[in-house]
Every structure is written in structure tokens, then in C-alpha cells.
Amino acid sequence: MKTALQARGQSRLEGKEPKKSRLAEQSEKVYPEQSERVKLPETDDGTILFRVPFPDDLKELHNMSPIVVKQPYHIDYIHSYGQDSPFFAGLSNGKLLGTKCPDCGYAYATPKGHCGECGARCDWVELPKVGRIHTFTVCQFGSEEFLKETPYMLILVEFEKFNTLFLSRLIGFDPKKASLDLVGMKVRPQFKRNAKFKPTDVYFVPAE
């Protein structure tokens, strides 16, 4: 947002005379004994808001419209996959990996480093080449990052001898034809050639 003070500052940028700004003149008036001019640098960023209405009677300020400003908020986040890193390395090599507990045999289709059943450290195993759709949906809307991809189909895939499921996208199926009959359909994984080291490096297509 450009405050009234900044708006005044802007006239200095646009105007012909690079002289004292009115703000500086004012500060000289307030502090006449000040020998050197001290001021904050004016900037051009933010929303430009000119002539904010302001009453003479300050009691009326309770009725003032709220001032709403836009504040951009971008972060480059350094995300570590930690103990799950081999899964993403696997995707880049065309392998879909899960984990299995060496002690109790519980098998995770979405990898889990340590077994939630007995606490042991799990071993890496390859998932079967074919799974079945356990459930699905067609997203016609989404969070901002995925809006441009709508409509997209999400599926949870079940694999024989694995106790848990795997979340992925279903590609190559017309979302308009989605019905409850999809549940149980055989699907197989395909991999992106250029791995992005994201779980979307693998997606599923109908296998029958």
C-alpha cells in the first residue's frame, strides 16, 4: 500500500525538481534546530492508495472503512525427504517402492521408515506391478497449486499382500465416465522420464 506520505514522496520521483520533499520540509519545521536532514528512503512498492478519507472529528474514526493491503508471501522451502528418500530415488529409476517390517511382516504400500505395529525398522521392497483401485474421486476444484490441472483423478491403490494403500493420480481414463464401478479396477504404474523427485513422478493407468 502506498500511504499518503509515500504518495507525496512519489511526486518527487515524477516531478522536475529534485528538491526537498514536503515531508522533509515538515520535519524541519518540527525540529528547527536539526542541522542535517534525516529521512527514510521512499519506495515504490505496495498498493497505491490516494487521499484516504479522514474526518475532522476523530470520534468519527470508529466508522472508518477498514484499510486492506496486499502482502506478497513467497518462500523457497528446503524440504528433506529424510528416511523416505529411497522412495523418490526409486521413482527416478522406474521402481515403485514400499516398505515391509522384518519382524511382524506388516507391509506398507506408502513407505514408512519404522513399523507402526511393532516399532522395528522397515526394509525397502518393490510393490507389485499391478494394483487395484480401492477408491477414487474427480477433483473439479483444488488448492491453488493444482487449479490448472483440474479436473484430475485421485485414486488410492491397493496391492496384494500389502496392508496399506498408495495415493496417486489416474491418467488415461475419461473423468466424465467415472462411476462406482471404477472401484476394484486393475491399474499399473507409469513413470515420468524426467523425474522431479515428487510423488507425482509415478501415476497409474488402467491395466485392463
Binding site: Y73, T135, L156
Partner: protein, 442 residues
């Protein structure tokens, strides 16, 4: 398990700021103050008395992303004039408000405090809906779930698709939950959406994630809510300060459960049985899978045991439950044991969770009014400012049990007649945290 050796806890007053799409006129602190001041006024307490009467607080808000402000709790504490009293923040996704209520309960039950105020808020209007969906979806595994299509409506849609496949639940049954809750909210001035709808309206509204439409899903809101809890000594202190005895209710049971954050990880185990159920009821049912919420069942079981409830359908007069989706309301009937697993669709069709005195345009339903669920309108119609929601449910339950709906709403259409016992239920992230609390007329 079981809750033992606790002091009696009373819920004495509550307040809600009207839930709205956006509240640009205030920052979160005065929004909470609206609810707080209402709660004080309702028991005739002066603001300046509060610091002498209160022992501390619990603050409830879900997302630091929505506020872009860390430690918002202390900013409220300060604004309300409650510094330097003790306080802490409760956070647990969608269940944040329910957790906050129970933490306030614990402060009293344990003897740490005699009067505790629970306040909560969320300001979700600060970003666009799609960005809000992104913030919410960050409450799913950011390595495996969020990057695939992070979208909570999508997750819940997958859960109900399995429910439909497994149990034959229909989209019309889902839609009737929306019809019920919107119609109830028509008589609740605090609700964000007050509309009389038909099943056709719900099905014809925009598809969000098949089979869930816009009207199957709650909306984001700005809002705040507040509750005051007290021990017997605390009630006495309030009485001395105000010269009046508050019309209080007793909190007789609390329960909480959890489940894996990634719904792909939900295992298949034995059904956790409630006292009125037998193992043979669920022979062959793969549970919880993704069609049911084991955390909700655990929370219900603990709360019922604590409150001495053996048959919830018969012994509870109304329920305010977490209906972020019409589907999750149906799934929750089953978790709370209002009907058996798999029968949630038929349960809503029977009319049992509808108010007895309202015409919903659905014709005569055989069991209409048996156990009204979400008489307030629930999240679907009231809105879901996450940190406020569980406390809002608590306040509506308080008013139901006080019989004071007319006083607070200027309309007693949604007043459940002679309500003696109610349950409130708060739920997070595809069922990862769930709380159930039981409130009774004192």
C-alpha cells in the same frame, strides 16, 4: 483406560461472533472480544471483574498461515485484559476448538484452575479460497499426500466413495444432510448461510470432488467463539462477583481419539465396540479402512464411559457434530454409535437426525426428531472458522441445555425441547484427531 479422580466441571457461559465470509472491519483480537464480552454479559459480569474471577485461559486457533502471525494467542490474552494470567494455545487441525474445550475442562477437573476461559478464532478471509484450500491441505503429509493433489475435499470424497461402494450409501442421502443443516440454520442468526434447500439444489450445485458438490461442503469463515468453565468453587466466585447464579450445565464426559495422518495408512483391525454393540454386528467388516473414523469411535467410547452412557441413541437428546462434509456427518453417526456401521445413509433417510418440528420439504419421515443432529446448522451452514468451530458447537449445546435459544437467537425454532443431555464432536484431518464431550443439565 478411563478418566478418574476428577473434580466436577461446569460450563457457565458462552458467546459467538457471527460467522461471516470476511470480517475486514476488525483484526482477530476484537473479534474474539465480541464473543468474550457476550459471555461475560450473559452472566452479568463486568469486564474488569474478569481478572479477579478468572484463573487463566486456553486459546484455540488452527493455522499460523491464515493469520501470518505467530503467537496470536497472547495477543488475544493481552487485548482481553487477561495478562498476566496463565494461558496456552491448543491446536489440532479441525478439532482445535474441541481440544481447546477439553483442555479448559482439564484445567478445572485437575484443580489447576477454578475458572477458565476458552476462546478461539480463525480469519480465513485473508487469502482466496483456493489458497485457503492449499493452507488446509498442508495438514496432510507434505511428502506423499499434498504434492499429489493436496485438497481436503478430494480426500473426503475418496472416503465416501468407499463408503458408498461398501454400504450402498447414496448421493441423495448425502444431500439430505445438507438440506437438514441449512434449513436448521435458517433459524440461527449466527450462521453464515441460511437457506432453504432441496436435494435437487444440492446435487445441481457445482461439483467440487465427485460425489461432493459445493453444498455438500462447509465454507471458510471468519469467526470467534468463547466459553467459560468453572469448578464448584469457581461458580461460587462468579456468584459473589455478579450476585447471580449462572444457569450452568455440567460437563460429564470427555473423550479423544487419533488416527494416522495419511489415510492410505489406515489399517484393518477389529471394530472398537460400544456398550450396546456385539462383535457379531460387524462380522467381516474391514475396519476402520477409509470409510470410518477410528478416532471418532475411540473418542465416543471414552466420553460415553466417562459419562456413564450405555446407549447413545436413547440417552443423548441432541448432537452437535463436525459436518465439514455431508459425508462425514453420515460417517460420524456410525462412529458415535447412533446407528451401526454401514447404516448411516439409512439413518439420515429415516429422519432420526432431523428436528421434529421443522418441515424440510422431504415429506413425512418415520423417525423424524429422534435425536436431532446439528440443530444449529452445523459447519455446513454456520461456516467453519476452524479455531472457533468446536467452541461454537459447545456454546450452542450450552444454550440448548439452558433452554435459552430464544434469548440468544430471538427465535426458538431450533430449541430441542426438554434437552437434558447433549454431545459435541470435533474432528480433524480425515479423522486424525477427534474429540467428543458430553454436556448435561446441571
Amino acid at each position: 483406560m478411563g478418566i478418574k479422580n476428577t473434580r466436577d466441571v461446569y460450563f457457565v457461559s458462552g458467546g459467538i461472533s457471527k460467522f461471516a465470509k470476511a470480517r475486514p472491519d476488525v483484526t482477530f483480537q476484537p473479534m474474539v472480544k465480541e464473543a468474550y464480552d457476550y459471555a461475560l454479559k450473559d452472566i452479568g459480569m463486568e469486564n474488569k471483574q474478569a481478572q479477579e474471577v478468572f484463573d487463566g485461559s486456553v486459546a484455540s486457533y488452527f493455522s499460523d498461515h491464515f493469520t501470518r502471525q505467530l503467537m496470536a494467542g497472547i495477543m488475544i490474552q493481552d487485548y482481553l485484559g487477561l495478562c498476566p494470567l496463565p494461558s496456552h494455545r491448543a491446536e489440532g487441525g479441525g478439532a482445535t476448538g474441541g481440544i481447546c474445550f477439553q483442555e479448559a475442562y482439564k484445567n478445572i477437573a485437575s484443580g489447576v484452575m477454578d475458572v477458565c476461559v476458552a476462546y478461539g478464532f480463525e480469519t480465513m478471509s485473508h487469502v482466496n479460497t483456493w489458497k485457503g484450500n492449499e493452507f488446509i491441505a498442508l495438514a496432510s503429509d507434505v511428502s506423499f499426500d499434498y504434492p499429489v493433489g493436496g485438497f481436503y475435499s478430494g480426500y473426503y470424497a475418496m472416503m465416501v466413495v468407499r463408503h458408498m461402494k461398501e454400504f450402498g450409501t447414496t448421493v441423495e442421502q448425502l444431500a439430505s444432510v445438507s438440506v437438514k443443516n441449512h434449513n436448521n440454520a435458517f433459524h440461527n442468526k449466527y450462521a453464515q448461510k441460511r437457506r432453504k434447500l432441496t436435494i435437487k439444489d444440492v446435487r445441481n450445485s457445482g461439483m467440487v470432488a465427485w460425489p461432493l458438490t459445493l453444498l455438500d461442503i462447509c465454507v471458510m469463515s471468519d469467526g470467534a467463539a468463547c466459553g467459560i468453565l468453572a469448578s464448584e468453587e469457581g461458580v461460587e466466585r462468579i456468584r459473589k462477583a455478579t450476585g447471580k447464579t449462572p444457569k450452568m450445565v455440567k460437563v460429564t464426559g470427555i473423550g479423544r481419539g487419533t488416527d494416522a495422518m495419511r489415510m492410505a495408512d489406515r489399517p484393518h483391525k477389529e471394530v472398537i465396540l460400544l456398550p450396546h454393540e456385539k462383535a457379531s454386528d460387524y462380522k467381516g467388516l474391514k475396519y476402520p479402512g477409509i470409510h470410518s473414523f477410528r478416532a471418532g469411535r475411540t473418542a465416543s467410547k471414552l466420553a460415553y464411559e466417562h459419562a456413564g452412557i450405555t446407549n447413545p441413541l436413547k440417552e443423548i437428546d441432541f448432537v452437535e457434530l463436525h459436518d465439514a462434509y455431508t459425508s462425514s456427518e453420515i460417517q460420524t453417526y456410525e462412529d458415535m454409535g447412533l446407528c451401526k456401521y454401514g447404516e448411516g445413509g439409512k439413518f439420515v433417510e429415516s429422519g432420526a437426525p432431523f428436528l421434529p418440528n421443522l418441515d424440510y420439504g422431504l415429506g413425512k419421515m418415520p423417525r423424524q426428531g429422534e435425536i436431532p443432529v446439528n440443530p444449529s446448522g452445523g459447519l455446513i451452514a454456520c461456516g467453519h472458522p476452524v479455531g472457533a468451530t468446536g467452541l461454537m458447537q459447545a456454546v450452542f449445546a450450552l444454550w440448548q441445555l439452558q433452554g435459552s435459544m430464544k434469548k440468544h437467537l430471538g427465535d426458538d425454532t431450533i430449541q430441542v425441547k426438554d434437552a437434558k443431555r447433549g454431545a459435541i464432536h470435533s474432528h480433524a484431518g480425515t479423522g486424525t484427531y477427534v474429540t467428543v464431550s458430553i454436556l448435561e443439565k446441571a
